[in-house]
């Protein structure tokens, strides 16, 4: 019974449309940023692409022939799932970091981006997967016949009036190709996720699960009364077969049976290594967290899908009477029992299983074909504008090619072998990748030679022991090849290589291929060395995880000639198109410093180069991307070269090598040894010269006026630094350093370009140099350290600059400390000097005071009828007052009072001079005004020179006549208190103070004094004494007080006045000297 | 110190405009003379017309100037010595060492 071709075809078409819609919807959702695919359930379902039509049909077939052994194929992946936590996560992380596009890309990247390895893996994948795709096509077309009732392979188109026959398999292949191209090759970027494809695959996984469960339930509960019923009946039907089927057969007693271990091993490898599995699990992974869900969800899926395999198989045998055609029990049982709907469901499940596999597989393999077979050829050509178009179409062609190859394989080989064996052939091929893959992840020494050798040998043996026999059995090759061996050499029999007979085909092939594969891989890896490129990649693979443990990558490469960002963009655009290129560079630019001209720091260039490679790798694979960028660089005249290793020994993975630590240690010794900056700088420069083989090193420091001075210059060939010295050409760089507060360096002065003149520098033989600011973190530079090398281009690595900067930081600290110390010293000296100066001034004033006091007369002369007294009270350290009396004869006494404007020694000495001058006049009969005149003319020059003035009152009193004649040179007016009156008389005459003009006319006046009259001469310290309120003592108080004490003797009057001043000011010390002279007439 | 320097017919005349030439200010005259000879001056006249007083330090400075001039084949002449100053030269016999003129003009004429 069947549905007829039209019905079957329309069901198929409808189903295809649904899947297309699902895929389209998912794609649309992704475009609008609301992915439905990015979740752990879809991820797990997409991994279930593992279950192909082989699972769908073949499991039942295998279960009915070899029993529960079929479970091994699912037990393997379930066990392998435990390893995903570390293994798959690691692979996914590396792949995301490196824009991996396929398993071939992954393996080739690990082994130094080897083009050959990529190609080899691709070829193995194509050859190994071809039978598998063929299997799918065969399964679908066969099931289609079963469902539609046709008994031939081709659909006759007689109804359309032609003899042509339409091959069903071909139609299927074309439909799948279109589907795959639409959802798998929309864009060139293969490292991007294909959400439409994933959605379709996940949906199909769901359908095939439902379908198989449906058939199982139908068989178990509708045809029979549950599983127990089937088992019971089967035991009755064929007890021997029952025993056999329910026993794990480890011995491999029949050629068809496969030992448990072999099955486990192959399936464990296949779940990760089949190109489509790698694709869905790694490339299509959107979130590492999904892996942990898939770890239990995927095995659960496998459990469910296999739940009814045994009941269906046994039910099939019971129903049909034998295990003939057991591969299609799933579809046949409903058909035989007349349940078309169930058969349709089963058919759709089968189609789903096959389509999902073919689509993913073809996309994965076409990517590999493009990147590892086509690209290496294309890369040799000059990139053209139409390259992106060519590449995408090549990729589409690849998909078509892969599916078609599968189709033709199916047409040629298809019928000769059991379905399940075709799958295993693929599994065995994929298993060849395992050593290189696992070794690459966990064994640092694994190298390219080992990987290529191992895979190649493993593949050859796989081909010889597995593929050849499969050809042979389909009659393509003479059968005696299997029985007699090639050229009759029994040792080389493909099924019993080197005489190893008695093993099943699979175990035999697996044994030899793995033996050769693994041993070659290990031997070559141990014997041969890794190239630099490989080492770099190893570091990347290992570093992906070690980086999280505070690993810092040290740049060991530099570009010999700088390349700009835009040049990289142009390059990328040639392969992936302008839009993608711009997008890639904007991702790169996001958190990096790029200036307006698109120039990046020299240290960034290797990163930019890697980013370009990574971006290109996402489309053309790592190996081709590397080749593209390398050829581009060589066209530019640039290349990657090893940075000069400033440290002679092998660096550790720590960011500080031993040498770096040593230099830092030495530097801090130098800095801490002395406070002499010159020694520090000289020693530091010599340390740098010695340790890093530099040729010249210069330190210039800013001075206080803002200019700069070269303070230390070390190295051979030193010359006076003037504007003709080559160092002066560094001026623009140094200005930049001061401005930017960061190091500027040129790793190859010969390529520095025309903007800055370096003629003399180059003539000196200098090829690389660096200028580093001497500054503390975040502060203005105190100066610049400049270092020059004549021998090494590329000397200045990030690491070296960091070291130099750190030394400069230490130096800046030292400079700051020393200059602060000098400033303190200076301040202290200044203070000391000021104190000393002050002390000297005080001393001078004391001396002046001493002189003054020594000048004052000890006792007033005694003269009849006159009571004379004088007293001076000095203020602290002040001296300038002077009074004196001279007895001229028995009746005449001269009295004077004076005040010199300064309080210095000079002033005091001038007073001494006054005194000597006055003494010299004692014998003369000069009048008061004449004496003032003499003093003025004698003292004028000295006073002018010393910038001093003297105010003086001079009086002569004749006790006989009672006449007082007096003259005043600008002094305070003395006052007379007449006995019996209260008012005071002020004595005033015209006259300028002494020392202003050479000739002055001093007026002279006379006044008669009577008994009881009191004359007071005073200095301004008396009247200008002030109290705490700022009030002056003043003339009135003086006069009033004088009146109140006029009756006392002269000495007591003076004391009383002083008391009054002390009372008034509230202090016993005065602000200024106060001198008082009293002449009282008795 | 108040010193005025004039150039007259190839001869530098240094007028010491101080009343005293003593230990307090003679160093300034010394450095002025040193400077003059250093810049290549050959013949110098020091006019002491205003100097009323000279002490041994002042004399010493003039002697130093004389020796300085001699080693450079130059001359140093003095003019305008007041009585007291002249007596100091005589006391120390230095009037025999220096060419002493009454006025600057006299000194200039006797070249």
């Amino acid at each position: 019974m069947n549905t007829g071709i039209v019905y079957a075809a329309s069901i198929s078409a409808l189903y295809t449309a649904i899947i297309f819609l699902v895929a389209w919807y998912a794609h649309h959702r992704k475009e609008t940023g609301r992915s439905i695919v990015s979740n752990p359930i879809v991820y797990s379902l997409s991994i279930a692409v593992y279950c192909t039509s082989w699972t769908f049909y073949g499991s039942v077939g295998k279960a009915s022939t070899t029993g529960i052994d079929f479970l091994m194929i699912y037990l393997g992946p379930s066990l392998a799932a435990f390893s995903w936590l570390f293994l798959l996560r690691r692979i996914v992380k590396i792949s995301k970091d490196n824009n991996i596009t396929s398993i071939a890309d992954f393996i080739s990247l690990r082994y130094g981006k080897s083009i050959w390895l990529g190609a080899l893996v691709t070829i193995i994948a194509v050859l190994g997967i071809m039978p598998y795709i063929a299997l799918q096509i065969k399964a679908v077309s066969h099931s289609f016949f079963l469902v539609s009732g046709l008994q031939v392979d081709d659909i006759p188109l007689t109804r359309l009036g032609t003899d042509a026959k339409l091959p069903t398999g071909l139609i299927l292949a074309i439909i799948l190709s279109i589907f795959s191209i639409i959802f798998g090759a929309r864009k060139l970027v293969s490292s991007d996720r294909h959400e439409g494809l994933v959605a379709a695959v996940a949906f199909e996984s769901l359908i095939k699960l439902i379908s198989l469960l449906g058939v199982g339930i139908f068989v178990t509960y509708f045809l029979f009364d549950g599983a127990m019923d089937i088992y019971t009946r089967f035991r009755e039907f064929d007890p021997i077969a029952f025993e056999r089927l329910f026993t794990f057969d480890a011995s491999g007693s029949s050629p068809e049976s496969i030992p448990t271990f072999t099955m486990l091993f192959l399936s464990m490898g296949a779940i990760m290594l089949l190109p489509r599995q790698f694709h869905v699990m790694v490339i299509e992974n959107s979130d590492e967290k999904h892996i942990s869900t898939a770890m239990w969800l995927f095995p659960a899926y496998l459990f469910l899908i296999n739940l009814f395999v045994m009941p269906i198989a046994l039910g099939g045998i019971l129903t049909t009477g034998s295990n003939q055609g057991a591969d299609f029990f799933v579809i046949n049982l409903p058909l035989i029992t007349g349940n078309i709907a169930i058969a349709q469901l089963a058919f759709l499940g089968g189609v789903s299983a096959a389509a999902g596999m073919v689509m993913v597989e073809s996309v994965a393999i076409s990517t590999m074909l493009l990147n590892h077979i086509f690209m290496p050829a294309i890369v040799r050509c000059t990139p053209r504008a139409w390259f992106p178009l060519l590449l995408i179409n090549l990729k589409r062609f690849g998909i078509f090619l892969v599916i078609m190859m599968g189709y033709f394989y199916h047409r040629i080989v298809g019928d000769s072998y059991m379905l399940v064996n075709m799958g295993l052939i693929s599994f065995s091929a994929a298993a060849q990748f395992m050593p290189a893959m696992l070794g690459g992840l966990y064994w640092r020494r694994g190298n390219k030679a080992g990987a290529i050798g191992g895979i190649l040998l493993g593949f050859l043996i796989w081909f010889y022991t597995l593929l050849l026999p499969s050809f042979s059995r389909s009659g393509w090759l003479p059968a005696d090849l299997l029985t007699e061996g090639p050229f009759g050499i029994a040792l080389l029999k493909p099924t019993a290589l080197f005489g190893l007979a008695g093993m099943d085909l699979w175990s035999h092939s697996l044994f030899w291929s793995m033996l050769f594969n693994i041993s070659t891989y290990i031997t070559c890896s141990i014997m041969l060395k890794q190239t630099d490129k490989e080492k770099e990649q190893v570091l990347k693979f290992m570093a992906t995880f070690e980086r999280e443990r505070s690993y810092r990558h040290t740049e060991q490469k530099r570009l010999s000639k700088p390349v700009t960002t835009s040049q990289f963009v142009t390059l990328m655009a040639k392969f992936i198109g302008e839009t993608e290129a711009q997008r890639a560079i904007s991702i790169y630019a996001d958190n990096r410093e790029i200036d307006a001209e698109g120039a990046v720091s020299e240290f960034e260039l290797p990163n930019l180069k890697r980013h370009t490679e990574k971006t290109l790798a996402g489309s053309v694979g790592a190996a081709a991307a590397g080749a593209i960028v390398d050829s581009f660089l060589s066209d530019m005249g640039s290349r990657m070269e090893s940075v000069y290793d400033i440290y002679s020994t092998v660096r550790t993975s720590l960011d500080q090598s031993q040498e770096s630590l040593f230099v830092r240690l030495k530097a801090s010794e130098i800095i801490n040894r002395t406070l002499d900056l010159q020694i520090i700088m000289d020693d530091l420069l010599n340390l740098l010269l010695k340790e890093f083989k530099l040729d010249a090193a210069i330190i210039q420091l800013k001075d206080e006026s803002g200019g700069t001075t070269v303070t230390s210059y070390q190295g051979a060939n030193r010359r006076l630094i003037n504007e003709k010295h080559w160092y002066s050409e560094s001026g623009p760089y140094i200005d930049m350093v001061y401005r930017d507060r960061k190091a500027h360096f040129t790793n190859d002065a010969r390529l520095a370009g025309n903007t800055l003149t370096l003629e003399r520098t180059l003539a000196e033989g200098i090829i690389s140099f660096a200028h580093i600011p001497i500054s503390r973190e975040g502060e203005q530079a105190l100066g610049i350290l400049s270092v020059f090398s004549k021998s090494i281009a590329g000397l200045f690595t990030q690491e070296f600059i960091n070291l130099l900067s750190s030394l400069c930081g230490q130096l800046a600290q030292a400079i700051t400390i020393v200059s602060e110390m000098h400033a303190k010293d200076r301040e202290r000296d200044h203070k000391e000097r000021a104190l000393l100066q002050n002390a000297r001034v005080m001393r001078d004033m004391e001396i002046a005071q001493q002189i003054q006091i020594s000048l004052l007369p000890d006792n007033a002369p005694e003269i009849f009828g006159v009571d004379l007294a004088g007293k001076c009270i000095s203020a602290a350290h002040v001296g300038g007052d002077y009074y004196d009396f001279f007895l001229r004869n028995e009746n005449t006494v001269d009295l004077m009072i004076a005040d010199v404007s300064g309080h210095s020694v000079g002033a005091a000495l001038i007073m001494a001079e006054v005194r000597t001058l006055l003494r010299a006049q004692v014998n003369t009969a000069h009048s008061a005004s004449a004496i003032l005149n003499i003093l003025n003319s004698q003292l004028h020059d000295d006073l002018t020179r010393a910038e001093l003035f003297i105010s003086m009152f001079y009086a002569k009193y004749n006790s006989a006549s009672g006449k007082l004649s007096y003259s005043n040179a600008g002094h305070n007016h003395p006052i007379i208190h007449r006995a019996g009156t209260s008012a005071c008389i002020e004595l005033d005459t015209e006259g300028l103070i002494i020392g202003v003009k050479t000739s002055v006319i001093f007026e002279e006046r006379n006044i008669e004094l009577a008994s009881g009259d009191v004359l007071l001469l005073y200095t301004d310290g008396l009247t200008e004494a002030f109290n705490s309120e700022g009030e002056m003592f003043g003339n009135e108080k003086v006069c009033a007080h004088l009146g109140s004490v006029a009756h006392l003797p002269a000495r007591e009057i003076i004391d009383s006045i002083f008391e009054a001043v002390i009372d008034f000011t509230g202090s016993r010390t005065f602000q200024d000297d106060i001198s008082l002279v009293i002449l009282k007439i008795n | 110190m108040n010193i005025k320097t004039e150039s007259n017919r190839g001869v530098i005349v240094v007028f010491v405009k101080e009343e005293r030439l003593d230990a307090n200010n003679s160093e300034e005259l010394k450095s002025e003379l040193n400077h003059l000879f250093e810049i290549g001056t050959k013949d110098v006249i020091v006019d002491l017309k205003e100097v009323r007083f000279i002490d041994s330090s002042g004399l010493g400075v003039l002697v130093s100037g004389f020796k300085n001039a001699s080693t450079r084949q130059g001359t140093i002449k003095l003019s305008g010595l007041q009585t007291q100053v002249k007596s100091m030269f005589e006391l120390t016999r230095l009037h025999r060492v220096f060419d002493i003129y009454a006025t600057v003009d006299d000194a200039l004429e006797n070249r």
């Binding site: 000297r840 000495l909 005194r915 003494r919 000295d942 | 307090n24 002490d55």
Partner: protein, 144 residues
């Protein structure tokens, strides 16, 4: 009338006061009549002697140390002028100063001070006192 003038002055160890001290010396000489001696000559002699002796104290005995001081005592009476210049330094040896037979006309820039003092005063002595040294110079006055 019998004259007796005494003046005691302490000055800092600086040459800037030489002029004033000299002036004081000159003024003191003018206390005398011309009958006793030539006042003007005496004045200039006192000026020069005070100047030279104080310079000597400042520069040689006190070694130009600005923290030291010089004390001067001048006594004048009808028959004698005596000048005492006290220094607080380590002093000097009067005998290392060129002897009276030294040729004053030689071109030595230094060493005339003491010669000048000696030529103007009757006696010159230099001796240690408490806390320093004193240069004692005396000149007797002719009585007319």
């Amino acid at each position: 009338m019998k004259k007796k003038i005494a003046l005691e002055i302490t000055i800092p160890n600086q040459t800037r006061y030489l002029g004033l001290i000299g002036k004081i010396g000159e003024n003191m000489a003018r206390e005398f009549d011309d009958t006793v001696c030539d006042r003007d000559v005496l004045a200039s002699q006192l000026n020069i002697v005070l100047t030279e002796s104080i310079v000597n104290a400042i520069k040689h005995a006190n070694a130009t140390d600005p923290n030291k001081e010089v004390h001067v005592r001048i006594n004048v009476n009808d028959s004698e002028i005596s000048i005492h210049v006290y220094d607080t330094g380590c002093g000097f040896d009067l005998n290392t100063i060129p002897s009276p037979c030294f040729d004053p006309g030689s071109l030595n820039e230094k060493g005339r001070g003491i010669y000048i003092i000696r030529s103007m005063m009757d006696s010159v002595e230099y001796r240690r006192t408490n806390g320093g040294n004193v240069l004692e110079m005396k000149k007797s006055l002719r009585h007319g």
